[in-house]
Every structure is written in C-alpha cells, then in structure tokens.
C-alpha cells in the first residue's frame, strides 16, 4: 500500500513538474473580415487545405491586427513588421492579392482597400512558435502570443492548446460571446412617454 502511494506521488509530481517546465502553447480563434477570392490557389484534397496563392477579399473594415479567413491567417502591416523583427519560428510573411468587395465599399464608401500580409504558417504545432492543429486552428507559443499582443488582438479567443476545445465547443463559445456582445451594443428600447 505504501509502495503504491509512493509510486502515485512520484508519477504525479513528475507530471506536475513536467507541466511546469513544458512550454505553454495556446490555440487562437481569430476574427474574420473577409473571404477567399477566386484567384487563390487552394488544394482542398488535404485538411486543412493547403494554399499556394492567397487572394483575400475584405468585406468589413479590419479591427484587429491578426485575423483569419479559413484556411489562411493574415496580419496588418504593423504586426507584420513586428513579427519580421522577432526571432519567432514557424511562419513566413508572404504577399497576398488584397481586394475590397462591394459590401465593403457600401459600408465604408470613403475607405481605401485595407492592407494585409499573409501569415503563412508552416511550423509544427506545439513545437514551433507558430503551427496549426489538425482542424486548421492557429497554435502559438507563449512567446509568440506576447509578440502578437504588441498589436491589437482584442477579438481573439484564446484557449489552452494542451487541452484544446473541439470545433463544436469553439462554435458554442462564439455563439455565447456574440450574444453577449450584441446585447451590449443593442440600443435600449425606447420608453413611451406618458400622456
């Protein structure tokens, strides 16, 4: 009995120390401001689909500096500069064909096409600073997250990549967050004045 509890204690401690020393990785669920355009070259036979050339069409004005358009990730020029100066590994900054859609022009008639740089993630998830899991989610190291936070990533949902949520869990979290946000910005119903 004593031997067993000793083994239990030892295994547990090792696990705890392991977790302590193991670098932490995070799964990011990013905002979306547009869609993939017809000039993209995508291979859908693998999952997540591999993209050789990216054509991104903005439908909405970007707020955050890091956003996605499944299966690609994009950054603002500001964040691209920060990332290129960093020593992080697992990504390449590539040029993409950027356009704005009719929706964008209608919603923001005076705004020029926003600039964006394609963040081509090529690293291995949970080993390099940038990687993708089997679902196509972005996995970053703590160090990478700290760098990304030098830009604005307020609308990003952050999860522990060692206990990653399922796609359905992310979806329900998104639904919940959307409801809360929209309730917060919705105008209060007008009170009828008593005659």
């Amino acid at each position: 009995m004593q031997k067993r509890s000793m083994i239990f204690w030892a295994t547990n401690s090792c696990r705890r120390y392991g977790e302590f020393f193991m670098p932490k990785f995070l799964l990011l669920s990013l905002p979306v401001y547009g869609r993939i355009g017809p000039r993209s070259v995508v291979d859908p036979s693998i999952h997540p689909p591999s993209v050789k050339r990216l054509h991104h069409i903005f439908d909405y004005k970007p707020i955050d500096d890091l956003f996605q358009c499944f299966p690609c990730f994009l950054v603002s020029p500001k964040l691209a500069r920060i990332l290129s100066r960093s020593r992080l590994i697992g990504f390449a900054l590539r040029e993409a064909i950027i356009e704005k859609s009719g929706t964008f022009s209608q919603l923001n008639p005076r705004l020029p096409t926003p600039e964006a740089v394609w963040l081509d993630v090529s690293g291995t998830a949970r080993r390099d600073d940038f990687g993708r899991d089997h679902d196509g989610n972005l996995i970053v190291s703590e160090k990478a997250l700290a760098t990304l936070k030098e830009g604005s990533i307020e609308d990003t949902m952050i999860f522990d990549a060692l206990k990653p949520p399922s796609r359905d869990q992310i979806t329900s979290k998104l639904f919940e967050q959307t409801r809360q946000q929209l309730d917060a910005i919705a105008p209060r119903p007008r009170r009828r004045s008593k005659k």
Binding site: S29, P31, P48, I185
Partner: protein
Amino acid sequence: MGLFTARWVGRNPKKAFLFLSAISATGVFDGFPPGEITPVDELAAWGKVMRCAPAEAKEAVIWMKYQAPLLVRAFFSRASRKDYAETFFEAFPKLRGKVWVHHAVEQQALDKYPGLITEEELNSLANLRGIPNEINPQVHLRRIRRLWDNFYAKHPNGVKKEELLEYAKKIDDLLGDKFVPPIR
C-alpha cells in the same frame, strides 16, 4: 348582405383582396404551402398580381408564406431575379434605406460547396434578412461572418443542404430578434 357575394366584393374590393391573398398564402391555389419552394416567382401564381397589390395584402401574404415558417426553420424559396436587395425591398417597401439586406446562408456557400445550392435559392426572399442600420450592421455582419467561417472550417469538403439550413437557423435563433422584420 351576404359575405363573399359578387356584390359584397364590389363594395369591399380591398377586404376581398386581402382575404383572397391570405387564402392564397396558404398554398390552396398554387399548391405550395408556406415554407415550400415555389416555382420561379417568389409569390408563385400571385407574384405578378402581388407586385401591384396594396401594401397590406402584400404584407399578409409575405408574412404567411415566409415570415411565419421562418419562426421555426430556415428554408430557401426561389428568386426570380439576381438583385436580392430589390427582392427584399419589394416585399418590405417600408424598410428601403433602413436596413442592410443580408443572406442567411452566405453567398460564399455557392463557391465553397459547388452544386449544393442554386443562385435562385440563395437570393430568394426566404434566405434574406434585414439588419437595421441603427444597430451597426458592420458589427453584426462581422460576427455572423466569423460564425460561418467556423462552419466552413468544420465542413471543408462538403456538407448537406439541411446542415447549411440548420446552421442558418442557429444564427436566426441567436439574432432573429434583432432582424427587421424580426423572426424570433
């Protein structure tokens, strides 16, 4: 004086038209009950008549054929034109300039899942929602786009039409009370 006699109809043309329109919306005449895909024209046999009908009659038919079924499920009807905003504002003329017309199942679905749905279904009145301008459509549209992006990521290689509509219904459940006309 008896109801529904030629004389009564002659004296009360508006009421008669309204009554007939409400009956037509049930699908009795054209065989397409509320929530079913109607052939070519949005309002089936009554489409052409409805275009020059008084606003009340139009509203009654549209409510019965589209808005009421949307309370319980998302569905497609079949559009007769590509200009979806015009389809929406023809049905709800009072909302012209007050709402942003949005597709419940996004236009992207046409490219993402080729052959699954047609353009007529996508641009049909049953698939259109109005987001009021005063509640910042940008915020709503951005949130909806994010929800759909998550759906595409989950179903990268194909999906059933029912799954698309089920997801659209989920979004309707979430935001239906904010749409105009409201569908929750």
